[in-house]
Each structure stands twice: as structure tokens, then as C-alpha cells.
């Protein structure tokens, strides 16, 4: 049985040398075994120190089952990982580099956040697939096989952390879906590299990987909820994708896609010649695809090729599709935050969350700005109502609960665990 809410506590943790360190954890709940979640965050500059601190603060209960590590790629990732493992004694681990980290006390950069799942109420299995860019679908299926090892728990979820620069992420989701089927939801995100758009890293036990997918199948006796929202709206007239392939859009309305994009959005001069300026501009100017119901699908434009005048996306923009420019403002984006949290919590069948993990698109930060994202995480934390919050800023989000499409852009995906 769940402990009364009043008996749960959030343990604040401060450090004289660095006020930014936090620790959150909840006391064990018990139906069919105990379950607990802990989150530790550190922005220590030294990689080993940061890893050790965050891990130590996350590991607040007995019988830890899984560590999930989100960290800046500015660290020496191997040193960080070694420190985490030495703190945990080798608890199964998945993780990735980010475009910013999220902890209960707010968003951060150049830091590390570690989430621990523990107690006999959870059963966990992890897998990693390497060299995935040439075989995304098979690799997705490969890691999804981890689900076989978590036993016949009534509630299960497959968490995927992928290399968003490795190709059409929908193929990974399709591959994983082919193995786990409609019964088991998928959740996760694409690793980041602080918007450099060059190389992202995936972490698995004591290994730092690239061009990889890491996954954790989590089985539990209590409900797990997922919420998905973006809050963007279609604006203006649609354009026809007249040529696309390999995640690139080459032509819109039979014109070079980049020129149509820059001209119709009246892009600033520097975005027309400078790659970083373009990416910054494109963050708040995604493309939208129509769906049958609900919110339109958003496609994040990551970069442009100034030579062949094409746009690079993180997932397929189908040829012959109609696309719209999308618009979001602080109101609509924050409203989506509330809706996503509410949706995730709704699936917990009235149970309070042990913790929440947010997979938040880096592009939302472009709209909200730094003060806005602080407000956003405050809202997530208030929905968590005392339970710890972890997460990271992603290059793409994975959430499949309904239908078979499970890859999103410009979106907030919230995982709530009871």
C-alpha cells in the first residue's frame, strides 16, 4: 500500500561550496514490493566530482535497480561515468549527453543529473545497440528485446535514448514497436550536444558510445504515465513537399526548400549564411504536418545546407506531404507543459508520482527563453507535488501511447512513475 502522502518527504540537500547541488528522493511505496526514485544533480566542474556527487545523492534507497544519467558533453564523460559507477557499485545504467539538464530545482547547463530507480517493486533490463545509423530499425528492435527480461509486470515501459543525428528516428521507434507491440508504451529522447549538432553520446553501464541507442525496459507493479504536448499551431498557407529523402527536405512547392523557408519567414541576414545563426533561427520555426486528430506533428529543422539549399530535420518529412510553418508563444508552450504533466499523472490511477522525468525539446527553450524555462520546470515540479523531477533538453522526443507514431519534435514528453 502507498504510504500516506504526508509521510512522503522531499529531502533538500545543500552544500556550502555549491548551492546548486540538490537531492530529491521519495520514501518507498509498497504494493507488491517497495519502489523509490531519487534524483541527484551536480554542476561541479570536475567530471569525476560531478558524477560522484549526483550519483550519491540519487542513490538514497536500498536495492537500486537503474541509474539514468543526463549530462553535458562538456564533461570528460568516461571520467564522469567511472565516478558514477564507483559510487553505485555498478548498478545498470543508461544515459546520454544533452543540450541542457533538468532537475527539480530548475533547468541547468554544463551539469549532470542522475535519476535512480530502486526497490523490488521495479524490475529493469538495459540494452545498447551500436553502429545504428545504417540499421536504425533493426537497432530499435534489438534494444526493445530488453523487455523480455523484466518479467510479467502489469505495468511496463521502454525508455530509449538515441543519437538524434544518426538518421530517421521514426525508424527506431518502428523497430522497437515491432517488438514490444501496442501493449507497452515507449518513452525517451534524442541525445544533444549543446546545439553544436556534431556528435552526441549515449551511456551504457561503463561505456561512452556514439551512433548508438541505449534502452531500459522498466517493469513495475504500479502504473506508469506518459504525457505528450507541444502547444505549437499551424500558421499561413501550406506548402507541398515536392522532394525529400533521408531526413532532408530539398524542395517545397518545387522551389529549393531553404529559399522558400528563409524567404517566407523573412529570416534575418545572418541566418542565411551562418550555420549557428540558422540553427538558432530554426529553433522557433519548425515545420508542421497534419495528423488525423489532436495536435499537428512538428518537425524540428536542425540545420541547412547552404550549397544544395536543403533543410535537415531529425525525422522524415514525407515526400508529397503538406507542411505548414508553426508558431508557438510562451503561453501556448507553457499551457502544453501543464497538459503534458496532467496527462502523465492521469494514467497513475490516482496514485501520487514517485518521480517525473521530462524529455523537453531544446527548441522550446528557444521560445521560452531562459526565464521561461525556469517557469516551465517550476510548473513540472508543482505537478510532481514534492516528488523529484529530472530530465534533459533533447533533439527529439519519443512517446508512444496511442497509435503507432511515437517520434516527436518541439515537444515536451513527461514520464510519471508511481
Amino acid at each position: 500500500l502507498d504510504l500516506p502522502r504526508s509521510l512522503k518527504c522531499r529531502i533538500g540537500w545543500t552544500d556550502i561550496s555549491n548551492m546548486d547541488h540538490t537531492l530529491d528522493s521519495t520514501l518507498p511505496a509498497s504494493d507488491n514490493g517497495t519502489r523509490w526514485m531519487g534524483v541527484g544533480h551536480s554542476n561541479a566542474q570536475d567530471s569525476s566530482t560531478a558524477g560522484a556527487e549526483a550519483a550519491k545523492h540519487a542513490l538514497q534507497g536500498d536495492d537500486p535497480k537503474l541509474l539514468v544519467v543526463f549530462c553535458s558533453d562538456s564533461y570528460d564523460l568516461q571520467a564522469l561515468l567511472d565516478a558514477v559507477n564507483s559510487e553505485s557499485g555498478g548498478v545498470p545504467l543508461i544515459g546520454c549527453s544533452t543540450a541542457g539538464e533538468i532537475a527539480t530545482n530548475g533547468p541547468a547547463q554544463s551539469s549532470v543529473v542522475v535519476t535512480a530507480f530502486g526497490g523490488s517493486g521495479f524490475s529493469v533490463s538495459t540494452r545498447a545497440a551500436m553502429d545504428v545509423s545504417s540499421r536504425l530499425r533493426d537497432a530499435g528492435a534489438e534494444v526493445a528485446a530488453s523487455l523480455e527480461d523484466v518479467g510479467d509486470r502489469p505495468h511496463r515501459v521502454l525508455m530509449l535514448l538515441t543519437d538524434g543525428l544518426a538518421g530517421d528516428q521514426q525508424e527506431i521507434v518502428r523497430g522497437a514497436y515491432g517488438v514490444v507491440g501496442a501493449e507497452v508504451p515507449l518513452v525517451g529522447g534524442c541525445a544533444g550536444d549543446d546545439l553544436k549538432m556534431k556528435v552526441t553520446r549515449q551511456l551504457w553501464d561503463d561505456k561512452v558510445l556514439g551512433d548508438a541507442i541505449v534502452a531500459a525496459a522498466i517493469g513495475s507493479h504500479a502504473p506508469i504515465g506518459i504525457g505528450v504536448r507541444h502547444g505549437w499551431k499551424k500558421v499561413g498557407e501550406p506548402m507541398l513537399v515536392t522532394k525529400s529523402g533521408n531526413n532532408r527536405v530539398y524542395a517545397l512547392d518545387d522551389q529549393p526548400a531553404l529559399d522558400v523557408y528563409l524567404d517566407r519567414l523573412d529570416a534575418p541576414e545572418e541566418a542565411r549564411t551562418d550555420h549557428a545563426a540558422f540553427t538558432q533561427f530554426a529553433l522557433t520555426h519548425p515545420l508542421g504536418l497534419s495528423g488525423r486528430s489532436g495536435e499537428p506533428h512538428v518537425r524540428f529543422v536542425g540545420e541547412a545546407n547552404f550549397d544544395d539549399r536543403s533543410l535537415g530535420c531529425i525525422a522524415e518529412v514525407p515526400q508529397s506531404a503538406l507542411v505548414w510553418f508553426m508558431e508557438g508563444d510562451e503561453d501556448s508552450v507553457l499551457h502544453a507543459t501543464d497538459s503534458a504533466c496532467a496527462e502523465a499523472l492521469e494514467s497513475l490511477e490516482g496514485k501520487p508520482p514517485l518521480g517525473m522525468i521530462a524529455f523537453d525539446c531544446i527548441a522550446r527553450r528557444g521560445v521560452l527563453g531562459d526565464p521561461g524555462i525556469v517557469r516551465e520546470i517550476e510548473r513540472v515540479a508543482s505537478h510532481a507535488d514534492g516528488a523529484p523531477v529530472a530530465g534533459f533538453y533533447t533533439y527529439g522526443e519519443i512517446a508512444r501511447t496511442r497509435g503507432i507514431s511515437g517520434f516527436h519534435n518541439q515537444t515536451l514528453v513527461v514520464l510519471a512513475v508511481s
Binding site: A141, L147, R174, Y177, G178, V179, V180, G181, A182, E183, V184, P238, M239, L240, D253, S290, G291, R292, S293, P318, Q319, S320, A321, L322, R402, G403, I404, S405
Partner: protein, 534 residues
């Protein structure tokens, strides 16, 4: 600018078409189609069911596809069902092809039924899938057929060609068993199996020889038409060996030899519920046609070998030599006639090209046969300078290979020039075809008393156990030959040489194979200059 349609259905269909037509094989097109349809309709699970078999599905955990439930949905008119792990789902079922039992099924969580517009869109998607599959099937068939055609035209041994046909049949039709039967020459009331694919040794023995009226294969021979047997285990007149192995379904098409039914090509499956659709029937008939071509062609070779010592030799030789390229030309024309517009451009060009080349070959063969006949009949002698003779002989070969002429006496002789040129032409062609890489072909000549000797040598060697005389028998070919001939060249050369009382000998030494034509001539002038010997 044309304003694109923003209608949801139109838009979804356009995207579906673009996605599904980009797949290059049936399996990924089928699976991709279900996925894209499920994505469009926000459905959780989807499947294609044909003949009580789930051909492909998405949304079910691997290894846990509820076959019975899906087959039940494909048959019925139910609007909803309960899917394990999801709960109540609304269901849409549409046929993939007219008059075919295949169905595309989608199930979506919740009780909100598929609207009429959604069902119509799904129906259109199923049609797109059917067309894509037909195209892919046809393309695969054509690729396989052209491979078989090539092996026939390259004169692969008959058994190899037949095995390629049965192996092709299992692959193309996705069945476990294929076999080729021919009428038993000893007792035409029976048929013998001559090639199989997917048949175990033990079973092979039990089905080796069966009465003509038995099984799909035997019946196809008797009825001279396509025969299909569903429910094989309970059907009458089946092959006991297959019944014992629980064969479920079989189909056979007759195979002809020179227009007379000579056997049958059979395919069969152990999968329950498996049926053969129109395009699979068409595929088997096309393969059977090729088996007919191969048999007809091979029987001509046998006839040729039989006739070796008989008066029919020339006729048989001519008919065989003409038939080889003709087989290819007819095959290509037939394929273009039947499948013309469906063929990928590359393939049709390849076929036209092969046809044209074989046509040219035919032209050359006819010329040669006529020349040969002329040489044999006419035998007119004329005065000719040896060096001019050799120069004329090597003309046309310099392009193909470096041909070096050395040690040729500048003598004037009287002889049957055309016969000698014919022989030298064949020897040169043979040398070019048998010299590896860029090896040089050398020609030299000498006069010894009243005999003229002309040698053509190329780098290489003859197998130690080879009887040199056997090279001059018909249908002898070296192993590393690049010419497309059938091994009649040296035979003709020998015959022509004999007609002018000459003889061809062959020697293999010092890394060279040397053919020498020795022919009596009348010396009409003194040797003007004899090159100094080394």
C-alpha cells in the same frame, strides 16, 4: 502555382503512395504499408491476412500475433474487437485486390468507429499496395526469367538450367517445394522427376516415378493445362509420398518440347490455407515456358550428338547453330511482347541488345556456313602471295587483340585461297578467344617442299589429358572461353582443311598453344627472300 489539396484523405493517400512505392521488396512494402496506414489512422495494430494466414502485422509483441483473431476479423463484418493489452478497438477491414481473399485490417483503441471517409481512404491505400506488390512481383519474375534465359543462351548444362528453374520457382512463388517432371521415355504412362528444390532425399525417392494421372504434375501433363490442387491431403489422385508429408496445396504447368507436351513444372506448399493467386499462376506459366525452351534446346544438342556419324550431320548442325541465337531472340521478343510496358527500361534495353547481338551472330553463322559450303563445293585455286594471304587473314582481328605476324615468306603460290582464309579465320578467332588477359597472338608461315604451313599461336596450354584430335570434334569448348560459340569452329576448320587435302595439327609447348594448318600448294616462283633464322 497549383494550390495543393488540403483535404485530409487526399493528403494521406499522396503520402502513402510516395512511401509505399519507394520500397524495393515485397516484404518491406507490405509491412511498410500497414505501418503507414496505421500511422495515418492513428491505429495501434494492423495486419494483412490472406488465405487464413497472417502475411504481416504491426503492433503485436513479437511472437504473439493472434492469428485466429485476425483471421476471424478478415472474414467477418465486425466493427470492433478486443485486442490483448489494448482493450476494445474499432476495426476496419478492406480487400487488397478484387476477387482475392487478402484483407488489410486496422484496429484502433476506443469505440469510435472508422468513418465512411476513413474506410474509403483505407480501401484506396489497399489498392495502392496491391499495385505496388504486382509491380514488385513482376519485376522479380522478369529478373529471374532473364537470368534463366542467360543461362540457356550461355549453354549452361541442362541440369543446371533446370535446377535454376525449380529454385527460381520456390523463390518467386514463396513456396517450399518445386519440381520438374518429364514423361518417362521408357513408359510414357509415367513421369520422372528430373529436378527438385526443397525435397528431402527420402521423399525424392518416393515421388521419383509416378503415373501420369497422379498429382498436379502428372495431371498437368495429361490435361495439358494449369492444374491446381487445394486441400491436397484429401483431394483425389494425389502423390502418396506428398500426402504422407501433409502437403497442403500444389500447382503445375505443362512443359513442352518442340511444341509437344513433355513434362510439367510443379510448385507446392505445406502451409495450411496457402492458395495461388492470378499473378502467381502467371509466374508459374512463364517459368514453365522457359523450361520448355531449355528442354527443346537441349534435345537439339542431343540430336546433334546422335547424328555425329550420320548423313544428317550437316542439317542437324545447321539447325542447331541457327537455333541457339534464335532461342535467345525469340525469348527476348516474347518477353517484350507480353510484358513490354511493365519492363524496367534497363531490362528491356538489355533484352533488345542481346537480341541484336544474337541476330548479328546468326548473320555471321549463315555467312560462314555458306562460305564453308562454297569452299567445299567450288575448290577453285588461284595464285596468291603468302604474305598477302596472311595480311588478309589477320585483318579484323587486330582490334580484338595484338596480333603479330612474323616469319612469313614472300612467296607466290597457287592454292584454294578462300578455303585457307576460312581456316585461318577460325584459328585466329579461336586463339583470341582462348588467350587470357592481353596475351599476344602470333602468326607465322613457312614453305616446306610443296606444303605451305601457317601457324597461329596464343599464350596458354592444353590440359595434359586432352586428346588433341578431340578438339576437332563438334561441340568441344575450352573451359575459359569468352566466345559465345558452341564449339563447332575447329570442327568446321578441320572439315574445310580436309576439303583441300590439308590437315590441322595442334601442339602445346613453352606456354603456347599452336595450331598449324599444313596444305599442299603449287610453288609458282622461287622463294625470293627467306628470312634469316635466329
Amino acid at each position: 502555382m497549383v494550390v495543393p489539396s488540403t483535404d485530409w484523405s487526399t493528403q494521406q493517400l499522396a503520402e502513402f503512395l510516395a512511401a509505399v512505392s519507394s520500397f524495393t521488396d515485397e516484404a518491406s512494402a507490405t509491412r511498410g504499408a500497414i505501418e503507414r496506414a496505421a500511422e495515418a489512422f492513428e491505429a495501434e495494430v494492423g495486419a494483412i491476412v490472406r488465405d487464413d494466414v497472417v502475411v504481416a502485422s504491426v503492433g503485436f509483441p513479437s511472437g504473439r500475433v493472434p492469428t485466429d483473431q485476425l483471421v476471424g476479423l478478415a472474414d467477418g463484418v465486425r466493427q470492433n474487437t478486443i485486442v490483448d493489452g489494448i482493450g476494445v478497438c474499432s476495426v476496419a477491414v478492406v480487400p487488397i485486390e478484387e476477387r482475392q481473399p487478402a484483407r488489410l485490417i486496422l484496429a484502433r483503441a476506443g469505440e469510435g468507429e472508422f468513418t465512411v471517409q476513413e474506410r474509403n481512404l483505407l480501401r484506396a491505400m489497399a489498392r495502392v499496395l496491391a499495385l505496388t506488390l504486382t509491380m514488385l512481383e513482376r519485376q522479380k519474375l522478369l529478373e529471374r526469367l532473364s537470368k534463366i534465359q542467360r543461362s540457356i543462351s550461355h549453354r549452361a548444362p541442362l541440369q543446371e538450367v533446370l535446377d535454376a528453374i525449380t529454385a527460381g520457382a520456390t523463390e518467386l512463388l514463396g513456396v517450399e517445394v518445386a519440381g520438374l517432371r518429364v514423361v518417362d521415355p521408357v513408359d510414357p504412362g509415367y513421369s520422372l522427376i528430373v529436378s527438385t528444390s526443397g525435397v528431402s532425399g527420402e521423399l525424392q525417392e518416393s515421388i521419383r516415378r509416378t503415373p501420369l494421372g497422379e498429382g498436379a504434375g502428372g495431371r498437368a501433363i495429361l490435361e495439358e493445362g494449369l492444374v491446381m490442387i487445394d486441400h491436397y491431403e484429401t483431394a483425389p489422385d494425389t502423390v502418396p509420398g506428398f500426402v504422407a508429408n501433409h502437403l497442403q496445396v500444389a500447382m503445375a504447368a505443362p512443359v513442352y518440347e518442340n511444341g509437344v507436351v513433355a513434362g510439367s513444372l510443379v510448385v507446392a506448399s505445406y502451409k495450411s490455407g496457402r492458395r495461388f493467386n492470378d499473378s502467381e499462376q502467371e509466374g508459374l506459366l512463364a517459368l514453365a515456358e522457359h523450361a520448355s525452351l531449355a528442354l527443346t534446346d537441349a534435345k537439339t544438342v542431343d540430336a546433334m550428338r546422335e547424328a555425329q556419324r550420320s548423313k544428317d550431320m550437316f542439317l542437324a548442325m545447321v539447325s542447331h547453330e541457327l537455333k541457339t541465337p534464335l532461342t535467345v531472340i525469340m525469348g527476348a521478343l516474347r518477353t517484350l511482347q507480353v510484358h513490354g510496358t511493365d519492363l524496367p527500361e534497363e531490362l528491356s534495353n538489355e533484352m533488345l541488345d542481346a537480341g541484336w547481338k544474337r541476330g548479328k551472330e546468326l548473320e555471321r553463322l549463315i555467312d560462314r556456313l555458306l562460305q564453308g559450303a562454297r569452299a567445299e563445293l567450288a575448290g577453285t585455286e588461284e595464285e596468291v602471295r603468302v604474305s598477302d594471304l596472311v595480311t588478309e587473314a589477320v585483318q579484323g582481328f587486330e582490334h580484338a587483340r595484338e596480333v603479330r605476324v612474323k616469319d612469313v615468306p614472300d612467296a607466290l603460290v597457287r592454292m584454294d585461297k578462300h578455303a585457307v582464309l576460312e581456316v585461318l579465320g577460325i584459328l585466329l578467332e579461336n586463339a583470341v578467344a582462348h588467350s587470357p588477359g592481353h596475351g599476344e597472338v602470333t602468326v607465322d608461315a613457312s614453305i616446306d617442299g610443296s606444303d605451305l604451313s601457317v601457324s597461329v599461336a596464343n599464350p596458354g596450354s592444353l590440359p595434359d589429358d586432352l586428346d588433341p584430335d578431340s578438339l576437332f570434334l563438334p561441340f568441344q569448348r575450352g573451359s575459359a572461353v569468352r566466345s559465345s560459340g558452341v564449339g563447332l569452329g575447329l570442327y568446321i576448320a578441320g572439315r574445310v582443311a580436309e576439303s583441300v587435302d590439308g590437315k590441322i595439327s595442334v601442339k602445346s609447348e613453352d606456354g603456347q598453344v599452336r595450331f598449324t594448318l599444313r596444305v599442299p600448294v603449287q610453288t609458282t616462283a622461287a622463294v625470293l627472300e627467306r628470312p634469316s633464322l635466329p
